[in-house]
Each structure stands twice: as structure tokens, then as C-alpha cells.
Symmetry: C2
């Protein structure tokens, strides 16, 4: 596959950097923040995706300072969302929390906040109603995000999470919500684990790009058998069933030039020393993703 | 919810029958065939969905005789499919096996063969190619099914099975394949477990009916947490997250009047005596499905 390696990739190898690769913090959740940042820079990786848990643990200003000191870009902050509760008090609390998440995104200099919209309310089992509440809440939050200069990346999650995490399952559905919001600050994050199966994938990616709503690209593989916690079945690229060259070509064809985040939730990866995980990720990225990006 | 119970449901209760309910054999896989048939009829249930494993175990003629003696309809036979192999010998063997499955469907007097199309070939990880092979194979099998007087019910499976069981994930995708086959004998089975999350569900059901391709309706719930084998997370209606009244109304609005199969793969259900499972299923069906059907 490396016969198609781009000149960008070759230049980067010579320079000892790994262009456009971003390590998502949760891939290294068992590693202290400072060690994670050092594993990133020592591998020639120039960006990270952060989580709100880091903000809580380290403090917003201190986290920003550490990232700046390391010379890293922040590609995204995870995560806002959980907007499907039907009770008014829950809804108001969720909106407040999302405004704080937007503030944090801006303060960290990240371009976008990743949004996991929330699951079905067990009380009514009304997935259609839950989706309508998501659209309303995103429409309400979008102007606030615009004012802070950040975008909201709606994350379509794999349909196996529709009940408990995200009633948003496809890129098309995310784009419908984004368009309904009337805001150019709302778009979609394409995460291979969640959307690789979608028969409309290529067309949906094109649609996202055509409306300037393709905001982020995250990669990891679909491993089988599923882990006991299905969220943790994410694997190193190449370990599972996903055709990374094909999907990355779809993304590249739209002109997307953003960072590419590697986000892996996996017990085995979490048990691996950070330096070693970072090495494997950089290798797989340079073999299966970057040449097609 | 029973305030909306139809007069059909009330008549049936009086008569001691459970109209349109079909028990899928695999819901009772741990029960011997004869005992399964008796649990069905003793509960006033008039139809069963059978599996090819029963044909193999009992013999085709003997199985047909037992079903006839019990006075039962056979609503479907499970299952054909597994058509995604790229090697020519594997492809030919799969087509042969599917022709036998079509013969068995006809011999049992079942109207339709349920097709689980197969997963991604790990050798190439090419989901797009796998889908193209499914369309080719279905197009080749359709005339044979027509000659035998049976239909092929393509089963969109939940996207969590896209890698290993079915690259066919949505009703729309099934209808695209059915239309490409050029045959009126190809259609779709709507199984709540597999499609309940689909944001296009209502429109897709209408599309299926509009082209006379809505061939079968199967129900069971989406239970969480997922079982270690995710296929076995199917639950009794009412135990999980699915809105059966809403989905059943979508089906009924198209004029669908066929049997409604309850197909539950679940270790706890398999450990329950058949009589008891049949009782629970009939009750849940009469509360959550039949009034809306």
C-alpha cells in the first residue's frame, strides 16, 4: 500500500514528524497527562484531542499551559452532548453544562467540541422524540458556540449505542440536525468505528463537505469479538475489519486537510506503556491512513 | 396501551387464539421440535417460523407432516444467504446451498426464505465489493425462487453484525438489492432488533410496501447490557428499549396483514420451559404488538 505514499508522507518521515496525526487523550487514559503529552511530542506527533476530565483534573489554565509548552495543537475537546432528557430541569442542566464545555473548548484553543447527543429516555422509549430534543438543544447552543469561535461536531455513533448513548446514528442524520440549526458552526465528526458500515458513507461524506460541515476525522478499527463493553472494541488500525485506505480516500477527496485523531478505547491498549502505543499508532497511521489522506 | 386494542384482538381473546402470532423455532432452540409445536398450539398460536436445522434433524417430509398434523402455518424458513465470499468455488457452493434452501422453503409450504447475506471477507476488507457480490448472487437466485413459488426475504441486520454476518444493514439497502434483481420475488424482512434505530425507518417501511416488497415482520426487544454474544441480546417485547406500538403502527399503516414472528435469541429464554416462554410471548404480543397491528 505504501507505493501510493504521498510526497507529504515522505517529507514528514525525513523530518521525523507525523503530519496531521492527533492522539486522542482517551487512547492513553491510564497514562498521566504530562506523560501522555511527552509520549506525543517524542514521537514527532503535533496534536492531541483532549477530554473534559483532563480539564477537571489539571485545571483549565494549567492544561492550556502544558499543551502550549509542549508545542502541541488541540484538535478537539471531548465531549458535550447528552441532550435527550425530557424533564425540563435535566434539559436546562445539560444546556448549562454544554455552555461550559464550549467555554473550555475556546479556552484550550481547540476548534471544535465533540458532541455525543445522548440515548433513548427509558421512561418513554421514544427515539423520535429524543431526536427532536437533540435538534432543539443544538439549535439553542449553536449561537453560543459561534460567539466563542468554536464549532460543534455532532458525532454519529454506531447504532449499537442508540439506546444508551446517541440517538444520532448516521452522518446524514447529523447533517439534517446541523442544517436545522441554521448555524454554520454545527457539523459532523466522522469516526470510522461508528460509520464504517454505512451504505451511504461516501455520499454522506461528500454532502458534509459540500456544506462545510465535515469538521473532524477520527480513526480506529472495528475489532471482533466485541468487548464486554462494546465501546472498548476499538482497535489499532489494521487489527479489525475497516478499510482505512478506502474511507480515508473519501475524506481526502473532499479536500479535508484537518488533523486526524486516533481514538482507541481498548483494555489491551490501556495496559500498554504509552510510548509503545504511540509507536504502534504512528506506524499504522503511516501505513494505512496518511498515504491516502 | 390496551385502550387502543382492536376488535380483532378482543375477538381473538374470546376465541382463545392469538391471531397472526408466529413463534420462531430459534426462540425455543433448546426444546425438542415436537414439544415446541405442542407449546405453540396449546397456547392458541397458529404459526411457526422454522429453521433449516429442523429439516436436517427431522427430515423434510417428516417435518412437513408434523406441522400439518399440528394444523400450523409455516411463516418462514431461516435461513439462506452467506453470499459474500469472493472465491469462485465458495460462491458456487453458496448458490447451490441456497437453491436447496429454496426447495425446502417450498416443500414446507412457507411463503418466504429469510436471507442473512454474509459479512466482510477478512482477506480484502472490502465491504463495497461484498455488497456487490450479494446483489449479483440474489439476482442469480431470484428466478429459481420464483419458479418454486417462494420469495426471498433479505434481512437487514444490525450494523454491529456488518463485519461477520451481514453487509446488509438497512431496509433501503435491501430494497436497492431487490430492485436491482429485477424480480418481484425479492423483498425485505423487517426485524425490530435490527432496524429499530434507523432514522429512515418509517419512510423505508413505506417504500418497501409501495413496491410489494414488505415480506415479513419479526419482533423482539433490544436488551442492554449487550450479551457476550450480541446476537443473544434479543429480549421479550417490553424488556428493552424498542417502541413496539410505534413500529407496529408503521407496519400496519402499509396494509401488511402477514404473520408476526417472535424471534428471541437469549440464554435466559432458552433456559425457560417452553410453555412458560410461549405464555410470556403471547402476553407481551397481545399487549404491545397486536393492538397496533
Amino acid at each position: 500500500m505504501t507505493t501510493q505514499a504521498s510526497s507529504t508522507a515522505i517529507d514528514a518521515e525525513a523530518a521525523g514528524t507525523v503530519p496531521r496525526l492527533s492522539l486522542n487523550r482517551w487512547t492513553f487514559r491510564t497514562t498521566p497527562v504530562q506523560e501522555f503529552l511527552e509520549a506525543t511530542t517524542s514521537r514527532g506527533i503535533e496534536a492531541v484531542g483532549l477530554w473534559r476530565q483532563d480539564v477537571e483534573e489539571v485545571g483549565l489554565d494549567a492544561l492550556r499551559r502544558r499543551v502550549d509548552d509542549a508545542g502541541l495543537r488541540v484538535s478537539s475537546l471531548c465531549r458535550g452532548g447528552f441532550l435527550t432528557a425530557s424533564a425540563e430541569a435535566d434539559r436546562a442542566a445539560a444546556l448549562d453544562d454544554n455552555r461550559r464545555a464550549i467555554d473550555e473548548t475556546a479556552a484550550l484553543g481547540a476548534p471544535t467540541l465533540v458532541m455525543v447527543v445522548g440515548g433513548v429516555d427509558r421512561a418513554d422509549k421514544d427515539i423520535v422524540g429524543a431526536r427532536a430534543r437533540v435538534t432543539e438543544a443544538i439549535t439553542e447552543l449553536a449561537p453560543y458556540a459561534e460567539q466563542r469561535g468554536v464549532s460543534l461536531s455532532l458525532e454519529p455513533m454506531h447504532p449499537m449505542f442508540a439506546a444508551d448513548r446517541a440517538v444520532l446514528s448516521t452522518i446524514d442524520q447529523a447533517l439534517d440536525i446541523a442544517e436545522a440549526s441554521g448555524s454554520s458552526a454545527v457539523g459532523v465528526v466522522v469516526d470510522t468505528y461508528h460509520v464504517w458500515w454505512d451504505p451511504s458513507l461516501e455520499r454522506a461524506v461528500q454532502r458534509a463537505a459540500a456544506s462545510d460541515r465535515l469538521l473532524a476525522y477520527q480513526v480506529c478499527d472495528w475489532n471482533l469479538p466485541l468487548a464486554a463493553e462494546p465501546l472498548h472494541s476499538r482497535g489499532y488500525m489494521g487489527d479489525g475489519f475497516i478499510d482505512f485506505p478506502a474511507i480515508t480516500r473519501m475524506i481526502a477527496a473532499t479536500g479535508f486537510t484537518g488533523d486526524i485523531e486516533v481514538e482507541i478505547f481498548n483494555e489491551n491498549v490501556w495496559a500498554t506503556p504509552a510510548e509503545e502505543s504511540a509507536r504502534i499508532i504512528a506506524e499504522r497511521y503511516q501505513e494505512l491512513v496518511l498515504p491516502y489522506a
